[in-house]
């Protein structure tokens, strides 16, 4: 491996005026070229970590992969220099590029579960690059891999390599992938959203393991994420990107404490919505009493003895990780999954367990908004039809009366009435979710169930949706059952909170009480796992933990 003259002065990676383009093929139109990255420059010293942050479409992954001269699909690097260890890798030809991949630069993908070959044992895949590039013999590489497994606190480090990818949990696979990247002792690792797909309590473990491994091996890293609080934990410097252009680049402390650009400050303060908790007092209009539900004909219990109340015009947030049963609770309340035991009372009357047995008025007063607005709207219907249907269906409205109401609703969600003729495919992600909100509002409901409605959106867009929901609550007096895995969102919107864990409610009460110590073990774990925009938070959080996360 011909390395650069190691005079120690030049940066490890120096990207100058990088330009990346892609050819896209819109259906029914002529193919055209779009620019994904506009003349971005960056440099990285040996052993340092640079965080790349931005929303979807910011070009952060594309820039990260360019350090390996790699473009996904039709993506092509069309301009600029990528200088790694003192040479422009674009001039190295196919052989040169192949020699640096897996040797000088390694890659950790967002979904390790997909990135491992299902047909081979983990060990064979971990040591593959080291053997290929002649860094180590098989025996040496395996020894090193086991040491790395230990360092990354994987269980049973001696034998875990003998397993197949599907036999290992998601959080562990992500750590094995980090070990795979470290095994050939590269100079640089590209981490591409390595913790995004994980539950929040698992994320913190993986994050801590990655940080420690970076520190101990002295490898440099590009750490890509959409979550500024996560990036702040591992990076020395942070680069903020938007639409393929550089917004701001500075030390981690400067970016999160003294952002200079407006966009950066918006990202920093994204979770700070002031929300004053409403007083309880009024009697609940929806009471869930001792609900037990199961899938597969009673075989797989997903809800155990759950009881919660919802007060008029207030928000109950249901928080939990994947598999906690929070979405199942919504399905039980709506009647999609009739509970096996327990009852639901709504406005003083008992709701039928089965959807088919409920009256049209019961259905009207209980509306739902989904996580994926894309698939929650019929792609063949216009916005006008989508919002108008509940008006026709529940109130028998037609003609101009309906159109007038549609226009009012569009105004309420801060979209113009011209949108009535658009199709969902012609809207942005945030606009789609707004139309879904309008469709729910059209029914004049008393309760809207919001199932992870902001999870699929970029932070700033999600923020806008939350603000809209709060405004609408103030105007219409509608109550929300707000299901989420994200505690930051909960703080912004909830009046009371139910924490769910493995199908049971482990903590329940008004927001101020639920978020006030002393905590039970799980709530403590959950609260302490939410990344905060604070340098050194990760170390503090790990030290203060009392309970192991489920991913271990």
């Amino acid at each position: 491996m011909a390395k650069a003259p190691s005079d120690g002065s030049g940066p490890l990676l120096d990207i100058r005026n990088l330009r990346i383009e892609a050819k896209i093929y819109p259906p029914g139109e002529a193919p055209r070229t779009i620019t994904l990255v506009h003349d971005v420059s960056l440099s990285l010293q040996k052993g340092k970590v640079l965080g790349l942050i931005g929303e979807s479409g910011a070009g952060k992954s594309t820039i990260g992969l360019s350090s390996m001269a790699y473009g996904r699909g039709g993506v092509k690097i069309t301009g600029g220099e990528i200088i790694l260890n003192g040479r422009d890798i674009r001039k190295g030809g196919t052989q040169g590029i192949r020699a640096l991949r897996g040797r000088e630069v390694c890659y950790v993908a967002q979904s390790a579960a997909a990135a491992f070959n299902p047909a081979h044992r983990l060990m064979d895949q971990v040591v593959e690059a080291s053997i290929l590039h002649g860094v180590a013999t098989r025996a040496e590489a395996e020894k090193r891999a086991v040491a790395l497994f230990k360092k990354l606190s994987l269980p049973d480090p001696e034998n875990i390599g003998q397993r197949f990818p599907h036999q290992v949990s998601g959080g562990q696979l992500q750590r094995v992938m980090t070990a795979m990247a470290l095994c050939s002792e590269p100079d640089l690792i590209v981490f591409d959203e390595p913790t995004t797909a994980l539950d929040v309590t698992t994320q913190i473990d993986v994050l801590a393991a990655i940080k420690e491994a970076i520190r101990d091996t002295g490898v440099a890293a590009l750490y890509i994420s959409h979550d500024l609080a996560v990036v702040a934990q591992v990076s020395d410097e942070i680069m903020v990107l938007r639409h393929g252009k550089l917004v701001e680049w500075g030390g981690t402390r400067q970016i999160i404490k003294e952002p200079r650009q407006e966009y950066t400050s918006a990202l920093v303060s994204v979770h700070e919505i002031e929300h004053v908790e409403k007083k309880p007092g009024a009697t609940p209009f929806l009471s869930v009493r001792n609900i037990t539900a199961a899938y597969g004909g009673g075989k797989i219990k997903v809800l155990e003895n759950v009881s919660v109340d919802i007060l008029p015009g207030q928000t109950l947030a249901v928080v939990g990780e994947s598999g906690s049963g929070k979405s199942t609770l919504a399905r039980a309340i709506t009647g999609l999954l009739p509970p096996e035991q327990g009852s639901i009372t709504f406005a003083g009357r008992t709701l039928s367990n089965r959807l088919a047995d409920r009256s049209r008025d019961d259905l009207r007063e209980l509306q739902m908004i989904y996580q994926m607005a894309d698939v929650a709207m019929n792609p063949r219907q216009t916005v006008g039809t989508i919002i108008g249907r509940p008006l026709e269906f529940y109130f028998g409205m037609g003609g101009t009366e309906r159109d007038k109401r549609i226009a009012e609703l569009l105004d309420k969600i801060e979209m113009g009435r011209a949108f009535a003729d658009r199709y969902p495919a012609e809207l942005s992600g945030g606009q789609k979710q707004r139309v879904c909100i309008a469709r729910a509002l059209a029914a004049k409901p008393r309760l809207i169930i919001c199932d992870e409605v902001t999870s699929a959106l970029d932070p700033l867009v999600a923020n806008g949706i939350l603000k809209l929901l709060l405004e609408l609550q103030a105007e219409e007096g509608v109550a929300y059952l707000f299901i989420t895995h994200d505690l930051a969102t909960v703080k912004s919107i909830a009046d009371s909170i139910a924490v769910m864990y493995r199908g049971e409610v482990v903590r329940y009460g008004p927001k101020s009480e639920v978020l006030k110590p002393p905590f039970d073990a799980y709530t403590d774990l959950l609260l302490s796992s939410v990344p905060e925009m604070e340098i050194g938070w990760l170390e503090k959080a790990i030290k203060g933990r009392r309970m192991e996360s489920a991913g271990n």
Partner: protein, 276 residues
């Protein structure tokens, strides 16, 4: 809505040829220079200005028989496709939306029918039934409905679990609205393309049966049967049998080109405008 300039050349060729075949089939008596069974010349006369495609094994004008044959072939294939399609699509959609025992028993029965190669099963049935047009249409339609059933059920099941259908169910909509307003518009483009493929299959299947002597019976003429009538000429170097065979291929290819274009125009659920 449809921009004519955006139709690719291949689809144009398909559309034009398909239209020509249809015109020939519909106006056969007006276009054909001679009658269907009329003996007008020598056996296997070569192509000439009098007989554009030559004559057949009995001295009948091949072009006229081709035109009448188009009528028989397309007529039976269209009816068989219509039968297979309405039967398969209705049962498939119903199975997907209703679910439960209806879905299970229908699906198992279709699995069973599909465990026997279609041609073999058709031969088994035709060994006892008379080869009339009605039998042919029924046998082809019912056997082919299994394929349509599988496809429409699969498409409908995919759409049925999507959130917008769930939203409609939560609103309290009835089965009719869900099938016709939510699912059908989104299932249309794969189904239309499948319609083309099923028609091609019906044409090829009917031709194969007639070629084997088990389809359309003389004195009626269809293209497969004409291949059979003229096949003995091949060994003498007379290509009369190749002409109806080529016509079958041309019809199938042109419908295929159209179906391919329809499918490519909308392969996903993203589009809204201009691709109904």
């Amino acid at each position: 809505m449809l921009d004519l300039k955006r139709i690719p050349i291949a689809a144009w060729i398909g559309l034009i040829l398909t239209t020509l075949f249809l015109i020939a089939a519909i106006f056969a008596p007006l276009i054909a220079p001679y009658g269907l069974g009329e003996i007008v010349g020598d056996v296997w006369a070569p192509m000439s200005s009098k007989f554009l495609l030559g004559t057949d094994n009995l001295g009948r004008d091949l072009l006229s028989r081709m035109i009448y044959g188009a009528r028989t072939t397309i007529f039976i294939a269209v009816l068989a496709t219509a039968l297979s399609f309405s039967l398969g699509a209705i049962l498939g959609f119903t199975a997907a939306v209703v679910g439960g025992w209806f879905d299970t028993s229908m699906s198992r029965f279709v699995d069973l029918l599909m465990a026997i190669p279609t041609l073999i099963f058709a031969l088994v049935v035709l060994s006892v039934l008379p080869s009339t047009r009605v039998t042919l249409i029924l046998v082809m339609g019912i056997l082919d409905a299994t394929r349509v059933y599988r496809l429409s059920r699969a498409v409908a099941v995919d759409i049925n679990v999507m959130d917008f259908v769930e939203a409609a169910k939560l609103r309290g909509e009835g089965k009719g609205w869900i099938i016709f307003r939510e699912i059908l518009p989104n299932a249309l483009s794969p189904l239309v393309s499948e319609l083309g493929l099923r028609f091609i299959y019906a044409v090829l299947f009917l031709s194969a049966l007639s070629f084997l002597g088990l389809g359309v019976q003389p004195p009626d003429a269809d293209w497969g049967g004409m291949v059979k009538e003229n096949k003995d000429g091949i060994v003498f170097g007379i290509p009369a049998a190749l002409i109806p065979a080529a016509a079958i291929a041309a019809l199938a290819i042109s419908v295929n080109l159209v179906a391919d274009w329809v499918l490519n125009r909308t392969t996903d659920l993203k589009g809204g405008r201009g691709n109904g």
